[in-house]
């Protein structure tokens, strides 16, 4: 078994020459097709580079353009030359000037000898491929494509639109079932001869001449008519990105390529000195007969495409600034917002922090300064506690904080006294867990024991702000996990309600808090609410607080409540 190589070259001729010499001097025939547009001087330089090798030929030159028939014509010419000039060649491997052999040709020959009569060509029907670009998959076989996609884009698009409009459907040649696949195939001499000497070749050519990207379908379709055994995969490692352009390999891919055990890889950056130096060196020991395994490279490129198309959720950066609704996750991770809890419980932050084993912030959006956990002046990501800096872009402040503390759940307090700017952002963020005790601010007001007229004014304004906020939380666009209790509702069963929130934060730890947070004494609070009512300010958000001090079992106890269960 002795495979021969055909090579399509249009740039970086010195690299192509290097690879051709590598194969030829190992005794394998090479036929090079040089693009007709390559200037004479460079062509001559390549020929000079390959003098003294009697198993290298140059075939008839075509001017090649991506996506057109010319590439198939070039391959046909090269293949015909190879079959004619080198009768010893048992297989033909289609390569390009930017292909690099990752394993010596002897190993390839041995691999092919183990699988006699097998054609390695990726060949799948259009229904089964997801990688076609431009939305044109089956249509590439039933419309006419006389224009270049690269140079005559407008004409191209116009022609496609027109034909769709006129419902033009080309008739396929009989027996032909369109298949697609990588153009870097390896066919046996027999199959290729049958394809090239097909009595219907003229008709097929006439058909494929106006198919779009025929180099991905001509051999792939015809092989189905002429081959006895097809292994539908390419021996050349070649990956395409989401725009349909090939991924390029650089020096830093060396180990990855080495371990892939593939026979050939494309496309190699012409200046990748280390890759060429390593893979074309003679001293490389023969590897055991390993199967090609490009899974790791697949993963690498799949991740890259993912990063380009979907990005990292919650990241806002110079590379990624999504339009509203296109964020794919407004923030980088889940976080909890507590509204009203710190007014009702003394030392709530400390208690929650102890229970969750993490740091809990105060009011991050407080008007004077950012109340980071522990009163820090700077926090993760070098976020400053300056209120002006934060309010300059409050949404970004929050997303920055969540991004900078990835892996550590953030909990913070929020309330009607705070900057309300990030409210919409939080409400529409699926990562937010927002728990509200509405009207709890009234407790703080009442405890401040300031002048009543002032309190009344404050109460009215806070109530208005919180009402608006609750509307946001209840809007149909809200995606956050929202819990809203009125103060009165919450008081009916405070620990049970808290427990629900905590379980959601950390379902892995069903342990109940051994110690309840200390609730402020509410004796006289009902009278305060009544007084507000009497002054004409109806506190609607606190819920129906009994006018007389009611029996609150857990708060009424003068000592710290303990939960026993």
């Amino acid at each position: 078994m002795k495979p021969g190589f055909i090579m399509l070259v249009h740039e970086a001729l010195h690299r192509a020459g290097q690879v051709a010499r590598y194969w030829a001097s190992a005794g394998f025939p090479v036929v090079i097709h040089v693009d007709r547009r390559v200037p004479k001087a460079r062509m001559a330089a390549l020929q000079k580079r390959l003098t003294g090798l009697d198993n290298v030929r140059f075939c008839r030159r075509h001017a090649c353009e991506w996506g057109t028939w010319s590439l198939v014509a070039a391959m046909q010419s090269a293949a015909e030359t190879l079959l004619k000039e080198f009768p010893e060649a048992s297989h033909v491997v289609a390569t390009s000037g930017s292909c690099l052999p990752l394993r010596p040709a002897d190993e390839l020959a041995a691999y092919l000898a183990d699988r006699p009569g097998t054609d390695f060509i990726e060949s799948v029907t259009t229904a089964d491929v997801a990688w076609t670009v431009g939305g044109i998959d089956y249509e590439r076989f039933v419309l006419y494509f006389p224009f270049s996609w690269r140079r005559q884009r407008r004409l191209f698009d116009f022609a496609v639109a027109l034909q769709r409009r006129l419902s033009i459907r080309r008739r396929l040649p009989p027996r032909l079932v369109p298949h697609l696949g990588s153009q870097w195939w390896c066919l046996t001499r027999e199959t290729l001869t049958r394809i090239l000497q097909d009595p219907d070749r003229r008709r097929h050519e006439a058909y494929f001449r106006y198919v779009w990207i025929p180099d991905e379908s001509y051999f792939q379709s015809l092989v189905r008519l002429h081959s006895d055994r097809i292994d539908s995969r390419s021996l050349t490692l070649s990956k395409f990105d989401f725009q349909g352009k090939p991924h390029v390999f650089y020096d830093d891919h060396l180990q990855l390529l080495r371990r892939s055990d593939c026979f050939l890889a494309r496309k190699i950056w012409p200046e990748a000195e280390r890759l060429y130096g390593h893979f074309l060196s003679r001293e490389r020991a023969l590897q055991p007969r390993a199967e090609p395994n490009p899974a790791r490279i697949d993963r690498l490129f799949a991740r890259a495409t993912e990063q380009r198309t979907r990005g990292r959720p919650g990241l806002y950066s110079q590379s990624r600034y999504p339009l509203p609704g296109r964020e794919n996750g407004k923030t980088a991770g889940p976080y909890s917002v507590f509204e009203g809890f710190s007014a009702l419980f003394e030392g709530f932050e400390t208690w929650l922090g102890r229970h969750l084993g993490s740091r809990v912030h105060g009011h991050l959006f407080a008007p004077q300064r950012v109340e980071f956990a522990g009163g820090d002046k700077v926090y993760h990501g070098a976020l400053s506690d300056s209120a002006a800096l934060r309010d300059y872009d409050a949404d970004r402040f929050l997303t920055n904080l969540i991004w900078a503390t990835r892996g550590e759940r953030q909990c913070f307090q929020f309330g009607p006294r705070d900057n309300q700017a990030p409210a919409w952002m939080m409400a529409t963020d699926a990562n937010a867990q927002i728990s509200v005790i509405s009207g709890a601010w009234a407790v703080a007001l009442w405890r401040s024991r300031r002048d009543f007229a002032e309190l009344r004014r404050d109460a009215a304004s806070l109530q208005r702000i919180e009402t608006e906020h609750l509307e946001i939380l209840r809007s149909p666009w809200a995606k956050a996990r929202v819990r809203i209790w009125t103060l009165a509702e919450f008081m009916e069963n405070p620990m049970e309600n808290l427990q629900g929130i905590l379980e959601e934060i950390d379902p892995q730890r069903p342990r109940r808090p051994t110690e309840a947070p200390r609730m402020v004494q509410l004796d006289g609070f009902a009278q305060f609410l009544q007084k507000l009512r009497n002054e004409g300010m109806q506190p609607t958000l606190t819920g129906d607080f009994p006018a007389e001090p009611g029996p609150f079992p857990e708060t009424a106890a003068p000592t710290r409540p303990r939960l026993v269960r």
Partner: protein, 336 residues
Amino acid sequence: MKLWKQYRLRMRRKRLQLRAWRKGLQLRRVEDRTAAIRHGDVLLFCTLRNERVRLPYFLQYYRKLGIRHFLFVDNASDDGSREYLAGQPDASVWTTPASYKRSRYGVDWLNHLQRRHGHGHWCLVADVDEFLVYPFCDTRPIRALTDWLDASAIKSFGAMLIDMYPRGRIDAEPYCEGQDPLEIACWFDSGNYVFKRNREYGNLWIQGGPRARVFFPENPGRAPALNKIPLVRWDRRFVYASSTHMLLPRGLNRVYDEWGGEKTSGCLLHAKFLHSFAQKSEEELRRREHYAGGREYEVYAERLREDPELWCRWSEKYINWRQLEILGLMSKGNWA
């Protein structure tokens, strides 16, 4: 409306081109080696004034990245910068005593030179204290990046400015010629940047970092812009509209993705805050040749006299580009 807007931007571009030509007349040639520029070379354009100490490392850094030719505008240096640069085999130098401010902080001069020498080349515009970092810059030369951008039909490459600073007083450790300034100023702010879309030009306006945190905590709107598009496949129709923050035609400013994905980007590490900075900002304050009458320098000078420290507990120590990419400051995009 849209047509009118397009027309206005077009007129603005033409005006800037004319202006660049006019300001270009101020340039006097010191050493012109541009004949040595070969097809496909990546060029670097830079304006400077009295930066002699920083030059050797600057040249070394960018030569290593694969910059093939440097084009300098020297704004009346008197410390030997000009003579030093003129002696470099891969540099062309122009000089002018004219006003830096009135050439829009050097942009007009460089626009002019880029139009004359940058057409068809990838052009990088960087100050002497800015060091470009891009994905895989430790293993792939800049040609690998530009070839890839070419293949992807991308014409401009964004790299935001990351202010670097030392730990402790910024004047504690003196910088010596030839030294890597990032050895001293190796700390940066990792996650306090804010972004705004500029509707007119289509670019992102980025602010934040240590300068916003320390110098403008009460007045963040005045913090300097950090968005930059320093690497462009230049065409003589292009023009930088405001520093390297934005270009015209404005399609070049779209270096970010709006549909949730990430476009490939880099960072310009800004080693401005070295021991020479305090002295420099006092000097710039006197010259009043900087943006908004050097208002920025006024704040710096004042603040630095009190407490010249930018470092904080959450400052991040620079390691390599991968760290910046993990932190989200830059992105590989789909370049793997």
